[in-house]
């Protein structure tokens, strides 16, 4: 029973991640792309937890949520957007 629930969860998360990854690359504004990549990192953390890797999940959450988002936002502020 747990296995089929986890299978459903992992398939759903995987589909969301793929769609979000494509969206991050084709969306117009860079700031939206950064927000969506933050979502992909956080979903990856959920997948790592489902794959019985809590250490990796904790690391991915702590790095992907705030730190890499801030780094990209800083670069966006220094460079300016597209066009």
């Amino acid at each position: 029973m747990n296995m089929s629930l986890f299978a459903a969860a992992s398939i759903g998360t995987g589909v969301m991640m793929i769609v979000a990854a494509v969206a991050a690359l084709i969306v117009k504004k860079l700031i939206s792309a950064i927000i969506i990549v933050g979502f992909v990192s956080l979903s990856a953390s959920l997948l790592f937890l489902l794959m019985d890797a809590p250490d990796v999940a904790i690391t991915e959450a702590s790095i992907g949520a705030a730190i890499s988002t801030v780094i990209f936002l800083w670069g966006r502020g220094k460079i300016g957007g597209e066009q």
Binding site: M3, S10, V40, S41, A44, D52, A53, P54, D55
Partner: protein, 118 residues
């Protein structure tokens, strides 16, 4: 098509998909930060595939407990643990070099960064 089968392969499909999408983004995008984002996506995909290679459905996390009998492989997880932190340091370097290059060439578009071509 058991649940176990779907559970196992959906992970691999996600990681592979992320790698391919990231690669496509690196090849086709023009804004330097967009390329950095695509690179981060591919990085996440590689980490997923690595952890997946040590994953067996139905076993538990590699933290020994009185209730635990069978565990997944801890080695790939240890590798990925360090890879994630390196990944963010590399992304920071990527962004900083991108900012510097765009300052030099006056645009964030990689087609204008002529001096980086060899």
């Amino acid at each position: 098509m058991s649940a176990e089968y779907l559970f196992y392969w959906s992970m691999a499909a996600t990681g592979l998909g992320l790698i391919l999408i990231g690669l496509w983004g690196v090849l086709t995008r023009k804004h330097i930060l967009r390329i950095a984002l695509a690179f981060t996506l591919a990085d996440t995909g590689v980490n997923l595939i690595l952890v997946w290679s040590g994953f067996l459905p139905g076993r538990s996390a590699p933290i020994v407990d009185s209730s635990v009998t069978q565990m997944v492989d801890p080695l790939p997880q240890a590798l990925v643990l360090t890879s994630i932190v390196i990944g963010v340091a590399v992304a920071a370097l990527f962004v900083v070099v991108g900012v510097l290059a765009s300052r030099k060439s006056g645009s964030a578009d990689i087609r204008h960064m002529k001096e980086l071509k060899w």
